[in-house]
């Protein structure tokens, strides 16, 4: 499967990719984008199977990216990986069509819990 990791921090993209591996979900094709606008273009061009996106980014936020995707009829599974995990933000994410919201800091176990239903059991 192809997974798009979206975060304006290269450090955090590396941590997300490392945690994917540590959670047993290695071996997928990983592509990266550093903001929502870049991610939207990559999604339309490369059709990933899953998007893992930060919320708070320059150019286009994660929630605006999700809104743009759904508005364009693109239903790619979408999960937030963000520093804020308040009930209000979780509700907003779910209402916009997100499959899950993982709050930073996260563990490999948390990743496995939310990814297994989408990617299958860890290997």
């Amino acid at each position: 499967m192809k997974i798009l990791v979206v975060d304006d921090s290269r450090v955090m993209r590396q941590i997300v990719i490392r945690t994917l591996r540590q959670s047993g979900h290695a071996g997928h094709d990983i592509v990266e984008a550093e903001n929502g606008r870049m991610a939207f273009d990559m999604i339309t061009a490369e059709a990933p199977d899953l998007v893992l996106s930060d919320w708070n980014m320059p150019e286009m936020t994660g929630i605006d990216l999700l809104g743009a995707l759904r508005g364009a009829g693109i239903g790619v599974p979408f999960g937030f990986v963000t520093s804020e995990g308040s009930p209000a933000m979780r509700e907003q994410a779910e209402a916009a069509g997100a499959s899950f919201l993982v709050a930073k800091p996260f563990t490999a176990e948390t990743f496995d819990e939310v990814l297994t239903p989408l990617l299958g059991a860890a290997r």
């Binding site: 304006d8 921090s9 290269r10 450090v11 955090m12 590396q14 941590i15 490392r18 708070n56 980014m57 320059p58 963000t82 520093s83 804020e84 995990g85 308040s86 209000a88 933000m89 709050a103 930073k104 800091p105 996260f106 563990t107």
Partner: protein, 159 residues
């Protein structure tokens, strides 16, 4: 109406310890420092605006800043570039700030982080209400929460 309140010191400490034990677990815990340090060279700051307004800053020594970048990237300290340090410190304060914001009344908005080699001084009428003096690898790490003393909006500039 802006709420002028501050997070409990214990909650702030818990947030910082959780970040360190998850993303900066190199076998060295982050512990209370013996006292304030003057060996502080990097500042990462983020602001919260809305129902709760604040500036949250993480201030570190040169060695601690480089260690944060290297540990988050899983590389040697010597291989950690200036850009890596800036990126890592921005993400560090983003996570600490986001978690603190989640503890406070909302709705509020988190800014993008600002990272500087030096001090980042709030330009408006902000008062420090919480401060943690910590040590990691024997190096100082300070976390400060400023809130408006008269409900003024908060901005910050690198100096």
């Amino acid at each position: 109406m802006t709420v002028v309140a501050e997070p409990a010191l214990g909650d702030l400490h818990t947030v910082v310890e959780e970040v360190w034990s998850t993303f900066l677990a190199d076998g060295n815990p982050i512990l209370p420092a013996d006292g304030p340090s003057e060996d502080l060279h990097w500042t990462a700051a983020i602001t919260v605006t809305g129902e709760w307004e604040a500036q949250i800053s993480v201030i570190l020594s040169e060695a601690a800043a480089r260690g944060v970048g290297a540990t988050m990237l899983a590389i040697d300290d010597e291989a950690c570039s200036l850009a890596d340090v800036r990126d890592a410190l921005g993400e560090l304060v983003n996570i600490v700030g986001g978690n603190v914001k989640s503890l406070m009344p909302g709705p509020s908005v988190l800014s993008l982080p600002l990272v500087g080699h030096g001090d980042i001084t709030p330009t408006s009428d902000l008062t420090p209400v919480r401060r943690l003096d910590l040590a990691w690898r024997g190096e100082p790490v300070v976390v400060v929460v400023h809130v408006p003393s008269q409900g003024s909006s908060s901005t910050a500039t690198a100096t």
